[in-house]
Symmetry: C2
Subunit: 277 residues, 2 copies
Amino acid sequence: MVAMTPNQPGMPPKLPIPGVKNLIAVGSGKGGVGKTTVSVNLAVGLASLGHKTGLMDADVYGPNVPLMMGINRTPMAHGERIQPLEQYGVRLMSMGFLNPGDKPLVWRGPMLHSVIQQFLRGVDWGELDFLVIDLPPGTGDVALSLIQTAPITGAIVVTTPSDVSLEDARKAIHMFNQVKVPIIGIVENMSFLNCPHCNERIDVFSYGGGRRTAEQMQVHFLAELPLDPDFRVGGDTGRPAVLRKDKGAPFVDLARNTVTRAREAAMQEGPKIEITD
Amino acid sequence: MVAMTPNQPGMPPKLPIPGVKNLIAVGSGKGGVGKTTVSVNLAVGLASLGHKTGLMDADVYGPNVPLMMGINRTPMAHGERIQPLEQYGVRLMSMGFLNPGDKPLVWRGPMLHSVIQQFLRGVDWGELDFLVIDLPPGTGDVALSLIQTAPITGAIVVTTPSDVSLEDARKAIHMFNQVKVPIIGIVENMSFLNCPHCNERIDVFSYGGGRRTAEQMQVHFLAELPLDPDFRVGGDTGRPAVLRKDKGAPFVDLARNTVTRAREAAMQEGPKIEITD
């Protein structure tokens, strides 16, 4: 059973992805705020809670999911459909699997739109409770096309507490509002750092702006994630921090909150066409 | 007197920008690594060394230059040409001046290319020793079109020392190589943090990967900039760190190194057509 969101006037219908119950888009106004770190740890966290989960890396120019998930092989095709890879219980697709190495992708807009649609609908995702989509940063062409054509349950906006990042996060929230994608909440990443030497707290990128912005814009505040050198090591070595007993808790909480808010968002979406397979 | 770089086969000529002697593009593979922080401090640093300097913010979707330079007014037109704003001795143009506030820009590719060309050629830059261009992050459409059509003297690639950022930095270097733009050097930003409480050093995003990558890819290593909460405060309050007596030195060094390397890059560029006004 899948939900079809109502069409916007003048837009093509947001066709459901058969078998996929919830699409969670993870976006940011600005790059480098930890969008992929949040996507990866959220997906592995959802899987660890027993939900069938997929992760689609839509950041086609800078696909960091393969490195952060510690897997990079060429996916197999099965008939006309691409088989996702699987790591830590999460089904994965990324441009990094198709264009590995250091060569930049110099594709223009239309080709990107088509590859993104392939990732959404040409991949054999199977039955999924959650498909997490790691959007490209910003409010550009690829992000916009994707959120206009995919039946997204709700979006998470990642920001750091710095004003520069918050300025761009507000733009991203406006973009989701404009295309009527519900906001599941704001995640403040790199909130603070506890010095590994003296254990004193350092507000490297300021602090609290994510929560303040959530209040101003009347969206939920989902999580406050510390700036922890171990999270970066986890990303660089392909072992997400959520898997660590000593450090994983904030990400497991984030996954739990996301499940709750996604249910609410799905209920607020208004009239739906229920399709039973 | 301006230099015209030779055409690439099949590409339109890279017409000179009258009055502008050197174009320095500041790019990154990944967003959020401090590209705009480096651009702003480099431009103000060049001006403080007595060079006539401009700064063009080509990051049209996330234009952070107005906030970081502490200025946001609508520029005036003079005849058919837009007058740049000026702050700290640097002439400025940014999409943020034309689209202030939180509304995202939902323009598609072709409109962006045209606005970028307007910024390059429709702005009354006057006589400049250096025009610093803050590129959009990544190797996408807008960045590629710009570096293919502007007579860029050389490019600076900004990265953090984390593997994820370095992976994307290598892609950016390949992109510049492909379109024959000389690399002035790599800047490693957020290299390390000195704890403000105990003064011990913390390698938040790892350390040294920028220098290693420069060696591997046979490009210069320009600077190693600390992760300093004061730099972020400088950005958020519109007062670039290079202006501070106690903290500005690394950025002034970066400006000096850039002048030297830009001269070398201009000399290595091969045959030139000299045009005297």
